[in-house]
């Protein structure tokens, strides 16, 4: 299997920690995009003989979560002009320490969990647990609506990793994950629309150019 899947998975966990402590919305979104890019490479390395299934899952994750959703989020924070710092409830030192605890916990959990599939990379399940947990942590810790959306997406990344475990056997879960993605996209749109709606009473952004005093 080689060292690559594990290295990628450790990159994912590294990015989880960075996601937890980053205090700016733009940085948060960039880290999320980076994590999704790394994630989408995992199935390719895990299942070397490419079939349509892996290609679709990888490519879908790459396109949707690595490129499309980050763009959408950037567009959203630009449009709704929410560029402020996303300060959480807990300070950075506390976050760092609790992320260490969560990481230990996820390794512990995965060692206790019997899986129906063998010959997996060692860090796949811990990385999935840790990504799930950091998504949850972000969700609790965040105070801004956009942070919650990113937290939700990180949570989804964790689910994606779990789905990769069973990729060969259970395609339904993967598809559910992708459905979740689409749902999140709608969620984001909802927020943006809400913002614009609250400010302008209509949805036509192009009409903004006509504003004069």
């Amino acid at each position: 299997m080689g060292v690559w899947p594990d290295t990628l998975l450790i990159c994912v966990m590294f990015l989880d920690v960075l996601l937890l402590v980053s205090s700016r919305l733009g940085v948060l979104i960039r880290f999320f995009a980076a994590q999704s890019l790394v994630l989408s490479a995992v199935p390719v390395f895990l299942y070397p003989h490419m079939n349509v299934h892996t290609a679709v899952v990888s490519g879908g994750a790459l396109l949707l979560k690595g490129i499309l959703i980050p763009r959408l989020l950037f567009w959203a924070i630009r449009n709704a002009s929410i560029r402020r710092e996303a300060r959480g409830l807990m300070g950075p030192a506390g976050i760092f320490l609790s992320s260490g605890v969560l990481m230990g916990l996820s390794f512990l959990l995965s060692s206790l969990l019997p899986l129906p599939v063998n010959a997996l990379p060692e860090f796949l399940v811990p990385a999935a647990f840790f990504t799930l947990m950091s998504g949850l942590f972000l969700l609790i810790n965040g105070t801004k609506a956009i942070t919650q959306v990113v937290a939700y997406l990180v949570l989804e990344n964790g689910i994606f990793l779990f789905a990769v475990v069973l990729l060969a056997e259970m395609p339904l879960i993967v598809e559910m994950g992708i459905f979740l993605d689409v749902f999140v996209a709608v969620f984001i749109m909802g927020i943006v629309i809400n913002h614009i709606h609250g400010a302008f009473d209509h949805m036509d952004v192009s009409r903004l150019t006509l504003l004069k005093d």
Partner: protein, 301 residues
């Protein structure tokens, strides 16, 4: 002996390289690379002025600092060059050698009775105490990877064997160790060595009352500390020997120069952290070390 000579001769070059990198980033020509040699030479020629209120500790501190720097250069591997003094647990000796030097520097700073220096000393004590945990977590990882408790063995074996097997864990070591390196040597995200009259400075403030040769030795010892601690990082990062002794040394020195450039780049692109954020920076580096530790133990290599 050779490691001592290398450290003595090349260490003032490292801050020179850092300063030059920063100058290039800022679009200036910058001081000559050998500026620190001139500075140290100038300081050593001068006479010393001491306050009437200080005790012998104030004068002893620069000597202790320099001695600690000299001894530490015996303990650290320089690339493929093995350390002349090796014994089980020498990394603890190395860390507390610097601890001793720091202790004397703190006492000397408090000895002057200046509240300003006392403040800097207090901060130094606080931050170094946080950096130490990370340092030992890193040493634990290396010891676990190489199954050895001697610094040279630890670093050379683990970097030779493990970049392929335990690359991720070593990567965590490199990241967290680099943060410690910056903190221990009072470089930018923690302390700004270029400021002399700002309230956030830590290391510079403790040497404010030292003059002439005393100051020269402190600067020299600081450069040697940066060199020796940097040498550990470079030795981890260079995973192979070229076979010939000459090329090994050249590779090591090139690595040190690259480290100087890297620190210069970090200092150019980052601002110093607000003082109350430094602890979370150090705690963060500790968490990355713990991360590496978990990975190492989970894999069981």
């Amino acid at each position: 002996m050779e490691t001592l000579l290398i450290a003595l001769v090349f260490s003032p070059l490292l801050p020179g390289i850092i300063a030059r990198t920063k100058a290039v980033f800022a679009g200036r020509r910058g001081a000559p690379l050998l500026q620190f040699y001139y500075d140290i030479h100038k300081s050593l020629r001068k006479g010393r002025v001491t306050s009437d209120t200080v005790t012998w500790i104030f004068s002893a501190a620069p000597s202790v600092l320099m001695l600690a720097a000299v001894f530490s250069s015996f303990l650290a591997p320089f690339g493929r060059l093995k350390a002349p003094v090796q014994f089980t647990g020498d990394m603890i000796f190395l860390v507390y050698l610097y601890g001793l030097a720091r202790f004397f520097m703190l006492l000397a700073a408090w000895d002057t009775g200046s509240s300003f220096e006392g403040m800097g000393a207090g901060r130094e004590a606080f931050f170094s105490c946080l950096a130490e945990i990370t340092l030992f977590a890193d040493f634990l990882i290396l010891a676990k990877l190489s199954k050895s408790l001697s610094l040279s063995e630890m670093i050379q074996q683990s970097s030779a064997l493990s970049w392929r097997q335990a690359g991720p864990a070593l990567m965590m070591v490199v990241v967290s160790y680099f943060a410690v390196l910056l903190a221990e040597n009072s470089r930018i995200p923690v302390d700004d060595p270029a400021t002399h009259l700002e309230l956030t400075m830590i290391h510079e403030v403790m040497a404010l009352d030292h003059s002439g040769p005393d100051l020269g030795w402190i600067v020299y010892a600081g450069a040697m500390k940066l060199f020796v601690l940097g040498a550990l990082l470079v030795s981890i990062l260079i995973p192979f020997g070229t076979g010939s002794l000459f090329f090994d040394r050249a590779l090591f020195l090139a690595g040190m120069a690259a480290l100087g450039v890297a620190i210069g780049v970090v200092e150019s692109v980052m601002a110093r952290f607000r003082l109350d954020r430094v602890p979370s920076f150090l705690v963060g580096s500790f968490v990355f070390a713990v991360f590496g530790l978990i990975i190492t133990f989970a894999r069981g290599v």
